[in-house]
């Protein structure tokens, strides 16, 4: 690993400063909302002239925001619960099938993550409309699961490729049916990848706004949808407060999961 780093001092300083700049470029747009959220002003202004917690109070005090938060968390959880097992089964099939058929199925399975979100949302709107599911939590869940399956598969496919399939055959020969072989042999050994897939599926749903804007409504509005709407209607620093909280939560979850994997 270490030979990737240059030996001489100037080169090393250049390398480290370049990396620091890239990191700053990645992080700053996210971090700029943090001071905004503690502003006491009614407007989004940077830097804030005075500080307060009033926008956090506004957020937690609002029934609408709280309902949206609840919806988003429920939806994220349900998405992970549905998408990860489906993704795992799909990945097992792809892994076993091999050849052109598997490559084709894999391609189809990954399209939702490649197609522009807006197209997917429009298509989904018409499909759900035909079933009278627009505006229901179930409708949004379907949309999020469609997006989360490819995400889960991207994590699970390489893990399965490293898995020794003879173990499943051994379990089968010893008397395990498919469900027990998957549950008792594959799942425990793919624990870490499954945890990552679950997290990624959860975050995919949590972060998703386009499908939610098209399909979710009223009580079932998700947090990102409500944030878009409120940005359009009235700009106040509540958005900054929510964004800050959001970032903290997501970073915390990712950190906890990655640190657990390391240990």
């Amino acid at each position: 690993m270490l030979e990737a780093y240059p030996d001489n001092r100037p080169a090393r300083i250049f390398l480290w400063s370049f990396c620091a700049l890239v990191m700053a470029f990645l992080m700053l747009p996210t971090l700029v909302v943090v001071p905004l959220s503690f502003s006491s002003s009614n407007l989004l202004e940077f830097p804030p002239r005075a500080y307060s917690l009033r926008w956090y109070e506004a957020f937690f005090g609002s029934a609408t925001w709280m309902a949206a938060l609840r919806t988003s968390l429920i939806l994220g959880t349900l998405t992970a619960i549905v998408a990860v097992p489906l993704g795992l089964l799909a990945c097992i099939s792809i892994n076993r099938l091999g050849g052109k058929a598997a490559a084709t199925i894999q391609g189809i399975l990954l399209t939702p993550s490649i197609v522009p979100g807006i197209l997917l949302a429009i298509g989904l709107f018409f499909v759900l409309a035909a079933q009278h599911l627009v505006g229901t939590l179930f409708g949004v869940l379907v949309g999020h699961v469609v997006l989360a399956i490819p995400v889960a598969c991207i994590v699970l496919l390489p893990a399965l490729a490293r898995f020794d399939w003879n173990q499943v055959q051994a379990a089968r020969s010893l008397g395990a049916n498919w469900a027990r072989a998957i549950g008792g042999i594959i799942v425990p050994q793919l624990q870490i990848s499954l945890l990552s897939a679950t997290l990624m599926a959860f975050l995919t749903s949590l972060d998703e706004s386009v499908i939610s804007i098209f399909v979710a409504s009223g009580q079932n509005s998700t947090l990102p949808k409500l944030m878009f709407l409120s940005l359009r209607d009235q700009i106040d620093p509540t958005i900054a407060a929510i964004s800050t909280l959001w970032t903290v939560i997501v970073v915390a979850v990712v950190l906890i999961v990655t640190l657990r994997q390391k240990s």
Partner: protein, 345 residues
């Protein structure tokens, strides 16, 4: 434990245009130790996997006793399998691996534990029950795999090149132990290998396979001494296959019209080691090599054909003086000269 016979009835399996099993039929007796021997791609593993239930034959039937298992799910076959890479479960310790088939069969906990411990003792692994799989040596893993495959008292055991990952000494020990285990349990065993010595050492009968067909099925001795095809003759060891014209019967009797197989170690320099009805081959010595326990002589017969003679060092007094280019005659006893119909040398 009651073991069962196996009947393989014209089983065919193709993968695309590749014929892995070409109408294979084979009867294995209850309690028999049968080895499927062949080069890679001969179909031996495909046949084993068909018996295990992981390969579905295109046609043909597989019977366990008188029960048709051709389409039975692998978990309902009650067949113990030892895989080439052992396929132990790395997330369970030794005991949990061995208990696994019993847990699946809902054997009460205490009984399952006792049976697993007894089986571990049988394969000489007492004291290692709590070990992790990663902490075991290759030979110990092999034993755990064996224990796991027999603990639920299956009526048939399948072994897919189980010793190929072990070093030579350990392999020989395990050959002996697997055979002993088979004799103790009396379990019908089908053993796959590409190592002809292993097949000869361990088996009641050997089925030699090539390109999806069984070439010959016989006792180890008959497979070695009386091969029915040129392929079997050459696969089983250093075989000279010579045209009948290059061989002279020492008693002057009529010569065979068929190609003859003479193993390199059946040839002698000394007429007295060969009976009156033996045969003689004459040619020019083209090379000689000392190999420790024996000398390897290469002779060019007058017909241009090459013959290898393997002379035990203890009997090879004359070998040191022989020089390349010299005319040499080698002799073989009649019992070691075997005609192979249809194999034109």
């Amino acid at each position: 434990m009651k073991s069962l016979p196996i009947t393989i009835d014209s089983v065919r399996k193709t993968f695309g245009s590749y014929v892995a099993l070409d109408d294979v039929s084979l009867d294995i007796q209850a309690g028999e130790f049968l080895t499927l021997l062949g080069p890679s791609g001969s179909g031996k593993t495909t046949l084993l996997m068909a018996l295990a239930g992981f390969v579905r034959p295109d046609r043909g039937k597989l019977l366990l006793g008188d029960r048709d298992i051709t389409r039975l799910a692998p978990n309902k076959r009650d067949i113990g399998i030892v895989f080439q890479n052992y396929a132990l479960f790395p997330h369970m310790n030794v005991l949990a691996n061995v208990e696994y088939p019993l847990v699946l069969r809902k054997v009460p906990k205490a009984e399952a534990r006792q049976r697993a411990l007894d089986t571990l003792a049988r394969v000489k692994l007492e004291g290692l029950a709590e070990r992790n799989i990663a902490a075991l040596s290759g030979g110990q893993r092999q034993r755990v795999a064996l224990a796991r495959a027999i603990v639920f008292e299956p009526r048939v055991m399948l072994m897919d090149e189980p010793l190929s990952a072990l070093d030579k000494n350990l392999r020989e020990t395990m050959q002996y132990e697997i055979r002993r285990l088979h004799d103790d349990l009396g379990i019908t065993t089908i053993y796959v290998t590409h190592d002809q010595r292993e097949a000869l050492t361990m088996s009641d009968r050997v089925a030699v396979m090539n390109s999806g067909r069984i070439q010959q099925i016989d006792t180890p001795q008959r497979i070695y001494d009386r091969p029915s095809t040129r392929f079997v003759a050459e696969f089983m060891g250093e075989a000279n296959i010579v045209a009948p014209g290059s061989v002279r019967r020492m008693d002057g009797a009529d010569e065979s019209r068929e190609a003859l197989m003479i193993r390199a170690e059946s040839l002698h320099l000394d007429t007295e080691l060969v009976g009156r009805d033996g045969v003689a081959l004459e040619g020019i010595l083209s090379a000689k090599a000392f190999r420790g326990e024996n000398w390897l002589l290469t002779l060019a017969l007058d017909g241009g054909q090459e013959v290898l003679a393997c002379i035990p060092a203890a009997l090879a007094g004359g070998c040191t003086e022989l020089a390349a280019g010299q005319r040499v005659t080698v002799y073989a006893p009649a019992a070691k000269v075997h005609a192979i119909p249809g194999a034109i040398a």
